[in-house]
Symmetry: C2
Subunit: 433 residues, 2 copies
């Protein structure tokens, strides 16, 4: 009991600390409205076409009428009514996920959620049911999974490969260490393609190694993939969902980046069999629906119809729609990396970064610690806002890193922002020298 | 610890039993598709006007553009983007709640949620934070609150006035009994106007008595009011929110019945001061937003704009829009009560019911127990589906009652359904005689 309370206190402290950073960042944006911000990973809104997408609702309505042998009027009324908890556009989503993201699945495997965040909020407590059940995540990790675990009172622990270790070995090591403490790892959250916050990618061997470890220790991998359609160089790696032989991967889908966040439509795609058992997969699907019925009842059928209508118009693929924003993000990535190279000795000095092949983020390592105080100094004295990587850290490490988002600012702002950031780094190093 | 586990097991059993009834009712509807159903409390979809309401989105967009000094295009882009966690149509909702429901509040008191169900899912764990914190509810009660408590592992207990007792006295008695068990009542869920499932109303004295008890024992009353705009006779009683002198009532609003369920827009309206403290109200508001950011991020701004656009078009009141459905529901209530009178000796015999002044439901008391077996018999042999009241009961009582919903069926179906139900009751009593 003492240990439990200790763990809860630590969780609460970590959550409070993250919350305070989040509040602080909002305040910084308000206090320094003319600062250039690399903080927000929002998609670029100039590519949203809300009016056009709303006009696709009748397309879905006509489709639903045909499918059910109803009049268009009757289909419209049922669309506005309460509906199936697990969603109504599951078949259209399954088709799109197969075509665009290499996720071969059937409609019955898809649970439509109010954004991917709701899928996390339903899955974490469904997987971690007993005291001592814990979640794993790469470190640093997306704040959305940490917040869910914190509020559900479920411990979330970092997992990383130690020198020379495979993921399978790392999972075995962590699972054994947890067992000795009377704990059990039930889920492993990760974004293998263009991770938030680091921008990195896991290769196929790493993905297969994680799957082997998850199957061995009966850990459910939650494969988040909001950025998969935003690749700028090279070729995509198969999603873990498609490499999973016996069913340990749940795939998380979202339309927040490919269409727009305001639709609040995402999904959890369950494997046909969970650890080899069709019945277990069915039970988890049923439990997610049951939980969802007490959170959002069902995902808005208005926005499901909007997404469904766009999918019908685009013949089941969003590849054409993401072309323009992808070109914009690629340009931003190039601008950002180029500006960093010019500002910081081509990356050969004490300031280093990665050049991501896709996604919205990259990480920069600094020759000094960068926390809350530094964020204020940087915003106040140099007019640029960046995210301390500790905000995403599960254990307080990564103190000398920051995350730069390049999805929302334009190229001039990126150039100017990097110059300002370099000014801050120079001043900081000058002061230390 | 033993007691904790006992409580959890009881909770789990109760939840499983409710779930099995729910599954069973869905199956009954599938197995007996030609049965007339009094089970569903869905609003009547012939009054939905999805196409017209979607056309109101640009009205909200223009309004938002004017308010922010932006172009309509820019406002549309921001509408499609991530947005404020607590919502964007708070001021319009506050205006409508004041005009239509007597809930005087300001925008800052409103937290917009993905349907009222999300408000419950956020509030219950926010109010019941410590082990031993429990929820209270009238008995029987809406299944949405029970499901939230069950999944959050929070005990939910029935509270009823014993003979001659006021609500204030009942709250004092229950609070004292809980204290002796080391427990604390933190919240009290109720629907004072046209309760689901009973259709009953609490008068002003009862509402004031509940408020007095809640203030004395620091219990937050969750006043749900989905049916308040559907009154057929008499005059409305002031909502508890407006009778609350020091801040113990949170008002729950929804557009699922006044507009349509598919918008998934509701709200929690917080008092200005919580138990007299403005800071405490602010902390609860902030916590609800924080929790929401890890469940649905924000309520779809597409559907918020739809609701906002309709509110703008209707000049801040939905009174005109609900006229036609209200007349339909009133007719259904009259048809149902008339049919019951004809079928069951004018209510002077062993079968009795209430004549609700509004809402979607009434309760019928039978001269025998009506559970799962009886529901099947009734559907299979007599072609009519009714809800056993035990489904809504927190303690297994109400075994000889059923709930009849009259919102969704047409008048002929209601007449025919009551004849069928009377045939079942006669057969059952004949068999027992």
């Amino acid at each position: 009991m003492q240990r439990e309370e200790g763990a809860l206190t630590t969780q609460a402290t970590a959550a409070a600390s993250r919350l305070s950073v989040m509040n602080f960042l909002n305040e910084a944006a308000n206090d320094y409205p003319r600062a250039i911000s690399f903080a927000s990973g929002r998609p670029a809104e100039q590519f949203f076409s809300l009016e056009g997408w709303l006009a696709a609702v009748p397309d879905y309505q006509a489709h639903a009428a045909r499918a059910a042998g109803q009049s268009v009027t009757q289909a419209g009324r049922l669309l506005a009514q309460y509906g199936r908890t697990a969603g109504i556009i599951n078949a259209l989503m399954a088709e799109q996920l197969g075509r665009d993201e290499g996720v071969a699945c059937e409609a019955a495997q898809v649970v439509v959620t109010a954004g991917c965040q709701e899928a996390l909020a339903l899955l974490v407590p469904a997987l971690c049911r007993a005291p001592g059940d814990v979640m794993l995540a790469r470190n640093p990790t997306y704040i959305g999974i940490t917040g869910v675990a914190d509020f559900a009172g479920i411990e979330i622990l970092p997992i990383e490969c130690e020198d020379g270790e495979s993921w399978e070995q790392a999972l075995a090591r962590v699972a054994a260490a947890l067992r000795r403490e009377g704990k059990t790892a039930r889920g492993f959250y990760l974004t293998p393609e263009f991770d938030n916050p680091t921008g990195t990618v896991l290769d196929e061997a790493e993905r297969r190694s994680i799957i082997a470890g998850c199957l061995e220790h009966r850990i459910v991998a939650l494969e988040d993939n909001p950025y998969g359609m935003f690749r700028y160089d090279g070729t995509s790696t198969a999603p873990m969902f498609s490499l999973d032989p016996a069913g340990c991967v749940i795939y998380l889908a979202t339309y927040s980046k490919t269409l727009c966040p305001a639709v609040r439509v995402g999904a959890a795609v369950l494997p046909r069999r969970l650890f080899g058992s069709e019945a277990a997969a069915g039970r988890l699907r049923a439990e997610l629906s049951e939980r969802k019925s007490f959170v959002t009842v069902n995902t808005s059928q208005v926005t499901q119809a909007l997404v469904g209508g766009v999918l019908l118009r685009e013949a089941g693929s969003l590849a054409r729609l993401v072309e323009a924003p992808r070109a914009f993000y690629r340009g931003n990535r190039d601008t950002l990396v180029g500006a960093l190279e010019r500002a910081f000795d081509g990356g050969r000095g004490a300031v280093r970064w990665n050049r991501p092949d896709g996604g919205f983020f990259l990480g920069v390592t600094l020759p000094f610690e960068f926390g809350q105080r530094e964020t204020v100094e940087c915003a106040r004295d140099h007019g640029v806002i960046v995210m301390p990587m500790t905000f995403f850290s599960l254990d307080g490490t990564r103190r000398d890193e920051v995350r730069l988002a390049f999805s929302n600012a334009g190229p001039e702002a990126i150039e100017d922002g990097v110059r300002r950031f370099a000014g801050y780094v120079d001043a900081k190093r000058g002061a230390a020298a």
